[in-house]
């Protein structure tokens, strides 16, 4: 079984604030998912071909040509706050 699972770490990484009730519920739900994944780990796949991607389609590439982008006004249209052509967000310092 996966150890070191901490609901606080996960909510922090996802930037989602959880109440104590929600934490208890999610802790239980996510634990079930992890157990399911652990079960998958026990399957012997050493003779199986590895599919590295869920889709079998091959990636199409695009020619390096620029096309018209969004008009500046349209790009900014839904922003609650703008300044000198920028989007404004709360102070975010890493």
């Amino acid at each position: 079984m996966s150890e070191n699972f901490n609901i606080d770490d996960v909510s922090n990484l996802a930037s989602i604030e959880l109440s104590e009730d929600e934490k208890a519920k999610l802790q239980k739900d996510l634990q079930i998912i992890l157990e399911h994944v652990d079960a998958l780990k026990n399957i012997d796949v050493k003779d199986e071909k590895i599919d590295i991607h869920p889709l079998s389609k091959v990636l199409e590439l695009r020619k390096d040509e620029s096309k018209e982008s969004l008009k500046h006004e349209d790009a900014m249209m839904n922003s609650p706050e703008t300044k000198d052509g920028h989007f404004v967000v709360p102070p975010s310092i890493e």
């Binding site: 990484l13 930037s15 590295i52 091959v58 695009r62 096309k67 969004l70 920028h86 404004v88 102070p91």
Partner: protein, 481 residues
């Protein structure tokens, strides 16, 4: 306890494509914010990424240039994290199937060649730019302004193995990588424009330890000078801790250019925290042999090839390394000039010292069209054979940069040709000895500084028309036999 430092470099190279990595927005260089953005690079819901073929060609070229093995079946992953300059809340990157793996770059340190092993070369996209508003101090910002013109520009990350041991070696590696991307023509490679951005992973441990020490990542080094200083500082900081028996914290630190120290930014996420998973919008990327062969066609004359040619011309490794990192015109000019001088060292010295110096002084970036390798070789030959003094050669070069002259005719017409007539010089020497008996009596040995004074007197009386070396030889013979 003897400690050793181990450094690994992570370098982001901004590719010089016309359009962005996953959308057709033009790559623009402008101060006007948010003028080249679309639903894809703004991370709006429902937008789908389509990769740029040229960017994939460029990363294959770089991987080959760094002697990597190409992963034929690769894929893109989502690297999840929240930061406002990344509006999708994930960066499209590569995780366990990068385009290039297990390569190496040859670097020159002093007169020695070293190899820096490359772990991986992978494709990703750039983020937007943030400007923090407030009272000036970054931690008291009142709001953050976002510009997404840079969001989605193709980035290649080149990661070395932890094989670098000094700051000088790290700088030499970045210089080499920079030249590789410039010679490949895949990036402008300008550090000041952020085309090349690097982080250093540094650890310190007992030199006999089998395991590396705790790794600290250093960010925000904007120049090679700050890279060197930041690494030196960090090695010192960690060494002090290790010597005191304290443990080094695994974290990301920020180089503070003003205070010249590294400052803790945050505890470092492990790769599990990024919750990488294959991007369902982007199926498998097949790089077949045809694609590799086509990309290979565009690779020519990388720094290692140029160094080989330069070394064959007779230059030392460090001089070759200097020229292979310089501008292409200077490299070409050196090679065509040395063919006519057959003297690699003086050609190198004259072109990189005198010519470049005078061009800088005169503020000219390009040689006038009449200045060619034949004229420069003639000029170099004139002073190498002592026909003109080095001082005269410098004056002739100044003239040549402003006027179409033939160096040799100019030297003759302006009475700059030195006498190599020993009898004539001997007569001058005899006369100076006679006029300076008081000095001659004070001379103790041939190394005496006063010999230089007497040579100067002879030069002066000849109006600099004789070769100082010949003067000295004759003078010493006359004085000491």
């Amino acid at each position: 306890m003897n400690l050793k430092a181990t450094i690994g470099m992570e370098t982001h190279v901004e590719l010089d494509t016309k359009s962005k990595m996953f959308c057709s927005c033009e790559v623009v260089e402008t101060d006007e914010p948010n003028v080249s953005v679309c639903p894809t690079c703004l991370g709006l819901p429902g937008a789908l990424p389509v990769p740029n073929k040229t960017a994939i060609e460029y990363i294959v070229m770089l991987s080959l240039g760094a002697n990597c093995k190409i992963t034929n079946e690769g894929m893109f992953h989502r690297k999840n994290y929240f930061y406002p300059d990344l509006p999708k809340n994930y960066q499209i990157s590569q995780f366990d199937f990068p385009v290039g793996v297990n390569g190496s770059l040859e670097i020159v340190l002093d007169e020695e060649l070293h190899s820096v092993e490359i772990e991986r070369v992978h494709m990703e996209e750039d983020t937007g730019k943030s400007v923090h508003m407030g009272s000036g101090r970054i931690d008291s910002a009142t709001s953050t302004l976002l510009d997404f013109n840079r969001s989605g520009i193709p980035l290649v990350e080149v990661v070395t193995k932890p094989v670098i041991s000094t700051s000088k070696m790290a700088v030499a590696y970045i210089e080499e990588l920079r030249q590789v991307v410039i010679d490949l023509g895949i990036s402008k490679g300008k550090l000041e424009k952020g085309n090349l951005r690097f982080d250093a992973n540094i650890s310190v441990a007992d030199e006999n330890a089998n395991e590396l020490g705790t790794k600290v990542e250093i960010k925000n080094m904007n120049s090679l000078k700050s890279l060197e200083k930041a690494i030196d500082y960090e090695i010192m900081r960690q060494s002090k801790q290790v010597e005191k028996g304290e443990s080094v914290i695994q974290e990301t630190r920020h180089w503070d250019e003003n205070k010249q120290v590294t400052v803790s930014m945050r505890t470092k996420e492990g790769s599990a925290d990024y919750r990488y998973f294959s991007d369902p919008d982007l199926p498998n990327m097949i790089i077949d042999q045809d694609f590799i062969d086509n990309s290979k066609k565009n690779i020519q004359n990388l720094p290692t090839d140029k160094r080989k040619t330069l070394k064959e011309s007779g230059l030392s490794l460090s001089d070759s390394n200097y020229l292979d990192k310089g501008e292409k015109w200077l490299y070409d000019l050196y090679l065509s000039t040395v063919e006519n001088t057959k003297d690699s060292k003086s050609t190198f010295n004259f072109l990189t010292g005198e010519l470049q110096g005078q061009m800088r002084k005169a503020e000219i970036d390009e040689l006038p069209n009449w200045v060619d390798s034949v004229k420069l070789a003639n000029l170099i030959n004139l002073f190498e054979t002592n026909e003109v003094s080095f001082t005269s050669a410098k004056d002739i070069l100044t003239k040549l940069l402003s006027e179409d002259i033939d160096p040799k005719s100019y030297a003759s017409d302006n009475n700059l040709i030195q006498s190599s007539d020993d009898e004539e010089i001997k007569a001058l020497v005899t006369s100076i000895i006679k006029d300076n008996q008081d000095i001659v009596e004070r001379l103790e040995d041939p190394e005496d500084k006063l010999v230089g004074f007497l040579v100067g007197q002879v030069m002066k009386s000849s109006e600099n028309k004789v070769n100082p070396g010949t003067v000295k030889d004759i003078l010493l013979k006359e004085l000491f036999g």
